[in-house]
């Protein structure tokens, strides 16, 4: 068990390192460089000034040196200094990560809290109009990009109800209502595809379980339908659904980049968006490492919880 966790953690670190290298190289391939973006508008900049700026940011070093320096520092939790704000990337992330975690968690809760009842209902009322319309909603939910859904939501709420969410961020401590109002739409937009995936998988899983032999055994014991359904069938049908959560976290984290920008939420996502525009390499890379770590951790926790709900799982 401990051996399993250690192995998974090491494996996770490797994955994060590889992703970081990939993003590092990709960033350098995008045209436009940070020094010009920073100084281009200043009148009468000389080549010497540009070179000095590049040297100050460490960009005069060979690429490979820069890469290893970043990886080495990152391993100790130091992602360098933001090119833009001149603050340590670590402290910027420390400020922004909780906001994104809140948003992501809300999205996850929405997808589970809506997905499970919808899936159960669809299975229970199999082939009814309810099931049919849920199927349409699910397909739509799975295929509409979350940022587009976010835009639709703000647009139509504004047109129909002349309502728009607050555009100035307040922390939950400052003003919980304002905070939740601002977070609600992006969380919904981020959660819908997960909701659709959960509902669909749960529906088919429950229908399959209801036809299984052990459900017949429970009925043959004389159990009421409530016991058949909730003690046995639903619990079994949730096993495959549970694995969706890990996958979903990846989608939610990715979705925050644009949705936080649309809804003016000062989290990791909007930070990445700006940093990419400004070629603020340390910030982008720091965010990639942190998102990678969140993703790897969530998936490890999900896999460990699997053993709690399914006794057949053995960690080896």
């Amino acid at each position: 068990m401990i051996e399993y966790v250690v192995r998974r953690v090491l494996y996770g670190l490797l994955v994060i390192a590889l992703v970081t290298v990939f993003v590092f190289l990709t960033l350098r391939l995008i045209p436009g460089d940070v020094v010009r973006l920073q100084l281009a508008d200043a009148p009468g900049v000389t080549q010497e000034q540009l070179d000095a700026r590049a040297a100050a940011l460490g960009l005069d070093q060979p690429l490979i040196t820069q890469l290893f320096k970043f990886l080495g520092d990152a391993f100790t939790g130091d992602f360098g200094i933001s090119f833009q704000s001149q603050q340590p990337v670590t402290s910027i992330i420390a400020e922004r990560l909780p906001i994104t975690l809140q948003l992501g968690l809300m999205a996850l809760v929405i997808s589970i809290a809506l997905g499970i009842p919808l899936g159960l209902l669809a299975a229970y009322k199999q082939n009814s109009w309810l099931d049919q319309s849920l199927r349409v909603v699910s397909v739509a939910g799975l295929s509409i990009p979350n940022f587009w859904l976010g835009l639709l939501l703000v647009t139509y709420l504004a047109i129909w109800f002349s309502w728009s969410p607050p555009l100035v961020y307040r922390s939950p401590g400052e003003d919980l209502v304002s905070n939740l109002t601002q977070m609600a739409l992006p969380a919904l937009a981020l959660g819908v595809s997960g909701m659709a995936a959960i509902a669909r998988m749960l529906r088919s899983s429950l229908l399959e379980v209801m036809r299984s032999n052990f459900v017949r055994t429970v009925r043959a014991k004389g159990a009421p339908e409530r016991t058949v359904l909730f003690t046995h069938a639903v619990r079994n049908s949730l096993v495959p659904v549970f694995s969706l959560i890990g996958v979903q976290v990846g989608g939610i984290l990715g979705g925050t980049v644009i949705l936080e920008s649309i809804f003016a939420i000062p989290g990791m996502g909007s930070m990445i968006f700006q940093a990419v525009q400004m070629r603020d390499y340390p910030v982008v890379l720091g965010a990639v490492v942190v998102f990678g770590a969140v993703f790897v951790t969530v998936n490890l926790v999900v896999d460990l919880l699997y053993g709690v709900i399914d006794p057949r799982i053995r960690y080896a």
């Binding site: 036809r211 299984s212 032999n213 052990f214 017949r216 055994t217 429970v218 009925r219 043959a220 014991k221 004389g222 159990a223 009421p224 339908e225 016991t227 003690t231 046995h232 619990r235 079994n236 096993v239 709900i309 399914d310 006794p311 057949r312």
Partner: protein, 354 residues
């Protein structure tokens, strides 16, 4: 013989609604099981044995009893509402299924599943129920029963799982145990152990048993009476020894004749007889067995044979009894067998001595 049978299945019809409309899987089945009696049900695959067994407990998935009665202790179960039916299941009548690998919930311990069965019908504390579960596991021959309580199904072998199923079935001391091919999925040595266990426990608990099986050897050894199914109907029934020694229905005769070594009728598979069971949708007119029957003659293709009562508490569904009046199966009385009617049947001469 028995003043009032424990179970009386009377003209049972079971209908399934399918995409192509309703099909009748069981068409007028009647038989009885007396208290503490063992009745074997045999017949080819698809003849309606499982459907009949499930219909007794109304556990049909997508099917319903469309006609007839299932009387238990004189009371018809067919019209019972789900709540009343639940009081019967597991309590008066328990059931064991064919596939022990999938018949237990993989997410719950063996103990939980036995305790659940007990507490559904008996007002006992969890602790008392667990003690009873240990006792049951011991009775079904589970090694180290107390520790096994915490085991999950995937930690047990097929034979052990079937023992757990038997423990669950016996938890509330039912008066009738329905076992639908309880050993088909197990290997031969385990099969013998499980059958012996069932036999012993049946005596101990004074339970009647309806045993669906493919194994004529098992029938011969364990059953008081045997019911032969064909095409969703009972074609013959009677005391085991008589039916096996002197079958009255051509189908039973063909089944027995097809056993390779009649002396040691220990075949695991039901012996194969030529031809195939017709599909539910195109049951032949007249006698359902006529396309495969070596004795068939012209009348068999349009006259539906009724169940004839024969001496010795036997019945048989064959037109031969109309004139024969219950004698052993002999050459057909009317126009002799045409090749067309019995294309694959063995020649009559080989059937002498049945």
């Amino acid at each position: 013989m028995h003043p009032q049978p424990l179970l009386e299945v009377d003209d049972l019809h079971v209908e399934f609604s399918t995409a192509d409309g309703p099909v009748e899987a069981v068409a007028g089945v009647s038989f009885t099981v007396g208290a503490e009696e063992t009745v074997a049900v045999v017949g080819e695959s698809g003849s309606g044995k499982s459907v009949t067994a499930l219909a007794v407990l109304k556990l049909l998935d997508g099917g319903r009893i469309s006609r007839g009665q299932v009387r238990f202790d004189g009371k018809d179960l067919a019209p019972l509402n789900p709540k009343a039916m639940r009081k019967v299941r597991g309590n008066d009548i328990a059931m064991i299924f064919q596939d022990p690998m999938t018949s237990l919930d993989p997410l719950y311990s063996v103990g939980h599943q036995i305790v659940e069965a007990l507490r559904l019908h008996r007002r006992v504390t969890k602790r008392a129920a667990r003690e009873r579960a240990v006792e049951l596991l011991e009775q079904v021959g589970m090694p180290d029963p107390r520790r096994r309580l915490a085991s999950y199904p995937h930690q047990l072998s097929g034979g052990q799982r079937q023992r757990v199923m038997i423990a669950i079935a016996l938890a509330c001391s039912p008066r009738l145990l329905i076992a639908d091919e309880p050993t088909t999925a197990l290997d031969v040595t385990i099969e013998a152990q499980i059958l012996e266990l069932l036999h012993d426990l049946q005596r101990e608990y004074r339970t009647a048993m309806l045993l669906v099986t493919h194994d004529m050897g098992v029938v011969a050894e364990t059953a008081d009476r045997v019911v032969v199914f064909y095409g969703g109907q009972v074609v013959e029934q009677g005391p085991t020894a008589q039916v096996l020694r002197n079958p009255q229905h051509p189908y039973t005769a063909a089944l027995l004749a097809a056993i390779p070594h009649p002396d040691s009728a220990k075949e695991r598979q039901l012996p194969a007889i030529p031809g195939a069971v017709p599909a539910l949708r195109d049951m032949p007119a007249g006698c359902r067995f006529n396309p495969r029957c070596a004795m068939a003659w012209e009348a068999c293709t349009h006259e539906v044979p009724p169940l004839y009562e024969l001496p010795g508490g036997r019945t048989s569904r064959c037109l031969l009894h109309r004139e024969g009046g219950g004698s052993a199966v002999v050459a057909p009385p009317a126009p002799p067998l045409s090749a067309e009617l019995a294309p694959a049947g063995p020649p009559l001469t080989t059937r002498k001595g049945i």
